[in-house]
Symmetry: C2
């Protein structure tokens, strides 16, 4: 019984990962600097590197559908700039 309760409590914590990347046609000066530095370090067959942001989000929610909706809301409101960035949410 106590174990069941603990399992239920554990279930209330949902974890999501969000990656925010620049859209294909948007210039990425930060990534370009990293690319040049890596090529200077001797990585010849590096073709391209683009940098983005990564978030690990923990929610107190029992329903994974509504939780995912909330994470999407967070992305739209704050985490990603939808004019120049794309985002991807996945459950961990």
């Amino acid at each position: 019984m106590a174990k069941q309760l603990r399992l239920n409590l554990k279930k209330n914590k949902l974890k999501f990962s969000v990656t925010v990347t620049l859209k294909k046609d948007v210039l990425d000066p930060q990534g370009k600097v990293v690319q040049n530095t890596l090529q200077t370090l001797g990585m010849d067959n590096l073709k391209s590197i683009r940098q983005g942001k990564y978030f690990e989000i923990e929610l107190d929610d029992s329903d994974s559908k509504t939780a995912e909706k909330k994470v999407n809301d967070m992305c739209k409101k704050l985490l990603a700039n939808l004019i120049i960035e794309d985002y991807k949410v996945s459950k961990i």
Copy 2:
């Protein structure tokens, strides 16, 4: 024949994703600010949010084993600070 050649050429481009995250015990002030802002915006059941870096790397290589090794080298040399950060490489 030409199609086969094109397929082979395409095969030479390998794409990896790298996520760099702060280790569990390292403070994440940037993530904390994002968390506070989201809570101000009305996301009550947000438990924690941690921010990391994300890279998309394209390599000109035919062998995925050696390519992955090179990406690991890049992480160790430049992309991640192994004292305070962990990294994860995966093929896209």
